[in-house]
Symmetry: C2
Subunit: 533 residues, 2 copies
C-alpha cells in the first residue's frame, strides 16, 4: 500500500512539474526538437555539469568566491577558458535589440582608432600626478586645426592644465615614471570602462556605479562624437557583432547632440548625415558578407532614435519631429523612438506624457510604422518612479520594454505583456554590473522565462562592461538556471528576431536564415567541430 | 484634443495601477483602515522619505555604499539610529513562525549565561596563538565532575591542546597579550556569529557562508545542548521576543540528538524532558506577563519538531514516530514536523518520500492535527534540487513553506499556494546574509506580496545574524519597497497569526489581542508617544 502511494505520488509529482514547465516556450516546443537538437542539448548539459565541478567549485588564485553564474567582471577570465563559452561563441545569436551605439566597440580598439586620427586631442584639467592618475580623467576632442597646440606631453612639468595635446603625441610622450605608453593606454581604457573593484567594492551601489557609468560616456564622447572616427567605429561594431553570431541589429542612437564634429573639428554633421552614413555602412558590411559568401551572417541594422530623459517637454517635441522626419525619409532605417539615461535620476515617462502622446498621434496621422521602444523598470525599486515607468511604457504601446528588470514584480503587467506580445530586452550583465542584482542567479530573467514572457537577450553597453557581442550574456543565462539548456538559448535567439521591427516578409526571411545557421551550429555541437578552432 | 487624451490617458493609468495594486491584500483592505491607521501610515511614509535623504543618501565614515534596504550587517548600526527603527521596535509583531531554537539568544547574553554554569568548559584543539585567534575555534561542553581538569588557562604556555578548562577561569586567565577577558568574549562571540567581512568579502558565496554558518551552530551546540543552560536560554528567548512585540512563537526544535546533557554532564535529558520543560517555561512566562498585567503580550509558544536532512530514511522513521508520540502526549505543544539543514548540500525532500508519506498516513490514521511545515526553496537555483523541494513540500501538503526563496520563479506553484492557503515564512535578513540576495531590494518578497501570497516575516537564526526579534526584518521590508507602508507591516503581522497552528478559537483570540495591541500602537504613532522612550 505504501509502495502504491509512492507510485501515485511520483506520478502526481511528474505531472505537476510538467504542467509548470509546459508554460515555458522551450518546453512546449521540445516535441518539435530534432534528434540532433536533443543530442546537442544533452552534450551541453553534460559539459555544464562537468565544468560546475572542475571550474566553478574549486579555488582559483586570482578569483575568489567562484560559483556558476557569479559576477561577470570577476569571472570573465575564467569564463573565456570554459568549453561552454567556446561553444556559445559559435552560436548564431539572432538579433541584438538593446544596445547603445556610443558603447559598442571594445575600449582598446576604440583607443587604437582614435590614435589614428590626427585631429584627436587630449587634455587634463588638473596637473597629472602619478598618485592621482586613477582619479584624473582625460578629456578628448577632435579639434579644428586652429586649436592645435605645440604642446607635446600631458605629463611634462611644463604642461599647463587645459592645454590640448594630440593624442598620438600624448601617448608617445607619456612619461616613464607614469608607466609610459602602456600606462597611457591603461589609463584611457580605465576611464571608459568599469573594473571589478569599482563595481563590487568602491562603487557598490546603483547610485555610485551609475556615476562612474555616466562618466565613461562623457569621456568616450570625445571619440564617438568625432564623425571620421564614428564611421569606422560603426563598421567595427557591425563586424565584431557578426563575428559573435549576431545577424541583425537595432541599436539606440543618441541624437541628443544636434551635430557631430567633422574632420575639420567643426560641428557640422547633422542627424541626417548620420543616418545616411549608417545606411552606407550597413550596405558596405552586407556587401562584404556577400563577398565572403555568407549573406545570412548580416541581415542588416536599424536605428532606434533616442534622446535623453532630462530634457524639457518642449525639447522632446523637437526630437519627436526630427525622428518622424528621418523616419519618413529613411523608413527602412528608423526602427523606433526611446528616451535614455538613468531612470532613477532623471525624468519618469509620465513627465513626458504630452509629447509622447503627441508622438503617437502624429505617427498615427501620418500612417507610419514607428513604434515607441521604451526603457522602463531598470530598477530594483517596487512602486518607485522608474518601476512605474512600466505602466506608462505598456499603456503607451511600447513594442518592447528596455530592461524591464522590475517587471517580474508586476502580476497584472506580466499578463499584459503576454497578451500584447511585448518582448523584454533583458540585459543580465549590465544589470549585474550596475548593481541591480549580485549575479545572474538572482536576476528576474528566470521568473520571466518560466512565465513565458518573450525575452530578447541584450548586451546594453559592452564597451563599458567588456561583454562584447552576446556570448557572455548567453553564457550567464545558461549558468544561472538548471532548467535553461542549449535549446533555451536557441529559443531566445529566435525570439530576438521574432520581436524585431522588420516587416513580416523580411522577418520570415531573417528567421529562415537563422534556422539554417542554427542547424549548422547544432551539427557542429553534435560532431564536436564546434571545439575545433 | 491633446488635453482630452491626456486626461483619458491619466484615467487609464490610474485604473491600471489600481487594478494591479488591488491584488495586494493591504490595498484591498485599505478601505477598512481607520482614520488613525491612515494617518499613522502617512506619518511613517514621511519619516521614511526624510531618512532616505538624511541617512541613506549621505556618506558615513564607517559605512560606505549606503542606500535604503542595503545589506543588513553593514547597515545595522545606522538602522538602530533611525526613527523608523525606533517606531518599528514598538510595533506588535504577531507570531514568529520560522526560527531555529538553537540560534535565538543574543550571543553576548548566551556567553554570560554560560559563564554562570560551573560545569561549562572550553578547550581548543590546537595551540592558541595571537596570530591565529580568529581561525582557532573554541569547543564548549558541560562536563561531568570527573572530567574537570586543574588547568586554569587556554592561553598559558603550558596548556596542552584538547584539555578542558572551566569557561569562567579560561575567561579570567585569558592572557593580556591576547587582549584579556574582553578579547575572550570577542573571540567566543565571533565564533558563533557572522560578521560583515565574512558575509560580504571572505565568504561571499552561498557555499562558503553556509560553512561558517554551520560552524557557528557546531560551536554554540556546546552551550545549547547543556540542559541547565537550555532552560534559562528558552526563557530569555521568550522574554526578549516579547520585548520586541512578538506575542506567539512556533520554533523549530532540532531533535537530532537523542539526549541533551544534564547538570552532571550526563546525556540523560530526553526529548520528552525537553517538551515538558518547554511547557513549564511557556507557563512561567505567561504567568509573568499576567503578573505584569499584559496577558496579551504572550499567547504562548509551540515546537515544530525538526531533525536534520542528512539522515537515512530508516532514521527518519524513528524521528517521525518520536514526533507523533510527543504530539499525542503534548498536543498543545507539538505544532508540526520539518527537516532542517542546508537544502543545497543535503538530501532533497524526494529522497525521504517513503518516510514522509508514512508520516502522513500515520497522522491520518491517528486523526491527529500534525502538519508538515517544511523548509523548501531556500536557494537562488532554478530547477535545482533545493528549488524542486517546493514541488514536494506543496504536494506533501505543507501547512507553510519555510523560506520559499525560489517560489517567485514558479507560476503554477504560486497559484497553488494561494489556492491552498499556504503561507511562506520569509526570512529576508537570513537570505541576504546567506547570500541568496545582495539586499532586501532584490529579495523576491516584493513579488510575493504583489501577488497576494500570504507571507509571515521571520528571523530564522538571529543569534548568528544579530537580527534579534523581528524589528530588523520588518525594518528591511519597509525600506525595500515604496509600496510597503506601515499598514503592510501590520498586514504581515496579522498574517503570521492567521497562519499559525493554533485552533480556530485560540487563533481568533490571538488576533483579537493583537488588534488591541495594534490599535494602541497606531495611537502612539499618531500622537508621537512611540518616540517618547
Amino acid at each position: 500500500m505504501v509502495d502504491n502511494s509512492i507510485e501515485s505520488y511520483l506520478a502526481a509529482r511528474n505531472a505537476l512539474i510538467s504542467e509548470e514547465r509546459s508554460i515555458r516556450r522551450d518546453f512546449r516546443e521540445l516535441h518539435k526538437a530534432t534528434d540532433a537538437e536533443l543530442h546537442a542539448d544533452q552534450i551541453v548539459r553534460a559539459i555544464k555539469l562537468e565544468e560546475a565541478k572542475t571550474i566553478w567549485a574549486i579555488d582559483h588564485p586570482d578569483t575568489p568566491n567562484v560559483f556558476p553564474g557569479m559576477s561577470y567582471l570577476s569571472a570573465r577570465s575564467l569564463i573565456t577558458k570554459t568549453k561552454i563559452f567556446q561553444l556559445i561563441s559559435k552560436m548564431p545569436k539572432g538579433a541584438l535589440l538593446h544596445s547603445h551605439l556610443d558603447a559598442m566597440v571594445n575600449a582598446a580598439d576604440l583607443l587604437k582608432m582614435a590614435l589614428e586620427e590626427p585631429a584627436m586631442h587630449v587634455k587634463v584639467s588638473t596637473r597629472l600626478m602619478v598618485s592621482s592618475l586613477e582619479s584624473t580623467m582625460p578629456i578628448f576632442r577632435g579639434l579644428k586645426p586652429s586649436e592645435y597646440s605645440d604642446e607635446s606631453s600631458i605629463t611634462s612639468s611644463t604642461y599647463v592644465p587645459g592645454t590640448w595635446v594630440q593624442i598620438r603625441r600624448a601617448r608617445e610622450s607619456f612619461a616613464s615614471e607614469y608607466g609610459g605608453s602602456e600606462a597611457f593606454d591603461a589609463w584611457v581604457i580605465a576611464s571608459i570602462t568599469i573594473n571589478p573593484k569599482e563595481a563590487y567594492e568602491t562603487h557598490n551601489t546603483v547610485k555610485k556605479i551609475w556615476k562612474k557609468f555616466e562618466n565613461t560616456f562623457e569621456i568616450a564622447e570625445g571619440f564617438t562624437t568625432f564623425f571620421p572616427l564614428w564611421k569606422k567605429y560603426l563598421k567595427e561594431f557591425f563586424m565584431s557583432s557578426i563575428e559573435d553570431g549576431i545577424s541583425f541589429i537595432e541599436t539606440r542612437l543618441n541624437f541628443f547632440l544636434k551635430y557631430l564634429i567633422d574632420a575639420k573639428g567643426e560641428e557640422t554633421v547633422s542627424h541626417r548625415d548620420l543616418v545616411v552614413t549608417f545606411d552606407e555602412v550597413v550596405q558596405d558590411v552586407k556587401n562584404e558578407m556577400n563577398r565572403q559568401g555568407r549573406p545570412e551572417a548580416f541581415i542588416g541594422a536599424r536605428i532606434i532614435y533616442a534622446t535623453l530623459r532630462f530634457i524639457s517637454c518642449e525639447e522632446l517635441n523637437w526630437y519627436v519631429d526630427d525622428c518622424i522626419e528621418l523616419k519618413q525619409e529613411f523608413p527602412h532605417l528608423i526602427a523606433g523612438f526611446d528616451l535614455v539615461g538613468s531612470e532613477n535620476d532623471f525624468k519618469p515617462l509620465i513627465f513626458y506624457i504630452e509629447p509622447l502622446l503627441r508622438f503617437k498621434h502624429r505617427v498615427q496621422e501620418l500612417g507610419i510604422d514607428l513604434p515607441l521602444i521604451l526603457h522602463a523598470g531598470e530598477t530594483f525599486g517596487d512602486g518607485s518612479e522608474p518601476d512605474s515607468n512600466l505602466y506608462d511604457a505598456i499603456l503607451l504601446g511600447t513594442k518592447r520594454i528596455g530592461h524591464g528588470f522590475s517587471l517580474a514584480k508586476h502580476p497584472r503587467l506580466i499578463e499584459l505583456v503576454k497578451e500584447r506580445g511585448i518582448a523584454v530586452e533583458v540585459c543580465p550583465i549590465s544589470n549585474e554590473i550596475l548593481r541591480l542584482t549580485s549575479s545572474v542567479c538572482t536576476h528576474p530573467l528566470a521568473s520571466l522565462i518560466n512565465q513565458d514572457v518573450a525575452v530578447a537577450l541584450c548586451s546594453d553597453d559592452p564597451s563599458v562592461f567588456g561583454n562584447m557581442g552576446l556570448s557572455f550574456d548567453f553564457f550567464q543565462v545558461l549558468m544561472g538556471s538548471d532548467i535553461n539548456g542549449l535549446l533555451t538559448l536557441g529559443m531566445l535567439a529566435r525570439q530576438s528576431l521574432e520581436h524585431c521591427t522588420l516587416d513580416n516578409a523580411e522577418k520570415a526571411r531573417a528567421i529562415t536564415l537563422w534556422e539554417k545557421q542554427w542547424a549548422v551550429f547544432i551539427e557542429s555541437v553534435v560532431d564536436g567541430r564546434v571545439f575545433a578552432t
